[in-house]
């Protein structure tokens, strides 16, 4: 069956939400990774860190009533949860680099079988910059990539990334609408096949070798 963009993103976000443990300190990329918060299981509370200097990001604030001095890294107004605090950019990145973030979820342009990640630059076409992504992926205890399996039909999971890298050998897990892969020392391992996909579909849309070791 053909999934809409919204359905695809919801499937991924719901699966990402299963990754968190109660009390985890989490950093989420803008867009799809942030959507996972909506689907957090009951009894699981996480502490969201935002690179611009917020520890304990709460809910979105609408524009008319919000305190314009509290934003997330996308510049959108947010609230601060009880127990949270504000950080300057040095303290924020010390927290990331120093290994104090439990789980980071980011999107990607490409990921490869060696756990390399490319998500900041398409030379000559699109160069938004790395922002805080390079610092974040180096320091986090666990790095999960949440992304659509393909871009306009072209595989994004590759044997070797072709775009400029964000980090080398850092990705632990890839979650797409079709599958969950782990990156082991010997390469990609298929752990889950989505009910919206099949092994044939995954083979056809993944440009990397993988072994199969299904969790369920």
């Amino acid at each position: 069956m053909e999934l809409s963009k919204e359905q695809t993103q919801e499937i991924i976000a719901r699966r990402v939400a299963q990754e968190f443990h109660d009390g985890d300190v989490v950093t989420l990329g803008i867009g799809l990774p942030t959507k996972a918060v909506k689907y957090l299981p009951q009894n699981i509370n996480i502490i969201i860190q935002s690179e611009n200097g917020v520890l304990g990001v709460g809910r979105y604030q609408d524009d008319t009533t919000r305190d314009c001095h509290i934003t997330n890294a996308g510049g959108l107004g947010v609230t601060l949860n009880a127990g949270g605090c504000f950080l300057d950019s040095l303290a924020s990145f010390s927290m990331m680099r120093g290994g104090h973030i439990d789980i980071t979820v980011l999107g990607a342009l490409q990921v490869d079988a060696a756990g390399n990640l490319a998500n900041w630059c398409i030379p000559g076409k699109y160069t938004p910059g790395m922002g805080g992504a390079m610092d974040l992926v180096v320091g986090t205890k666990r790095l999960i990539i949440a992304m659509e399996h393909t871009a306009k039909g072209a595989p994004k999971i590759l044997q070797k990334c072709t775009l400029p890298l964000t980090a080398v050998h850092k990705v632990n897990r890839i979650i797409t609408e079709k599958a969950v892969f782990d990156i082991a020392s010997d390469g990609l391992v298929l752990k889950e096949i989505s009910s919206y996909s099949s092994i044939e579909d995954i083979r056809a849309s993944t440009a990397a070798d993988f072994r199969i070791e299904l969790l369920r």
């Binding site: 935002s50 611009n52 200097g53 510049g75 950019s89 160069t127 910059g129 790395m130 980090a167």
Partner: protein
Amino acid sequence: MVKFISAAEAVTFFQNGQTLMIGGFLNCGSPELVINELLKTDLKDFMLIANDTGEANTNRGKLICAGKIKKAIVSHIGTNPETVRLYNEGKIEIDLQPQGSLAERVRAGGAGLGGILTPVGIGTKAAENKRIIEVDGKEYLLETPLHADIAVVYATYADRYGNLEFHGSTRNFNVLMPPAADIVVAEAEHISDEPLNPDNIAVPGIYVDYLIDGGRNGTL
């Protein structure tokens, strides 16, 4: 002792080709008053050091759009389509740096350090032209200090000693830049007649040369 000036007076300190540090993260905690005055002048060819190049119609982004920035050392340009266009056309030099490394380079500039060692960027384009130093078998990039002729920063509160205090997520680069620049201009939303609570001061007044009253007088 800090001197109170207007944004128009602040512009008289600027010269073509200077290196400017400007605080802020997108629109949050971003000074705007001096930038608006700079836009009225013919001053140009600045090197900008900032977290990002803002958006096309706000703060730092306006300097980009007005063609006043020759080179920018920033971590992100994606929110300002004009920066991306100028960059793709080769009309502006952009030196993209990992955000945390950029922050540390600014700190090093103001803290008397010869640089800092970070694992961030190893194996990526961010390592180009940087020295790799091994410590206990692990590779680090040497990130060198950054200095500026002028820093323009935002503060939520200031007192007449030049001390600065911040609300919410406005601290970002604003608290790092003052020690790293020769001349520091702070735009404070509120000026307090009483000294700020010493427990809450994020930037000591000795780093701040000039204060601009943002005129909010207690209304956020």
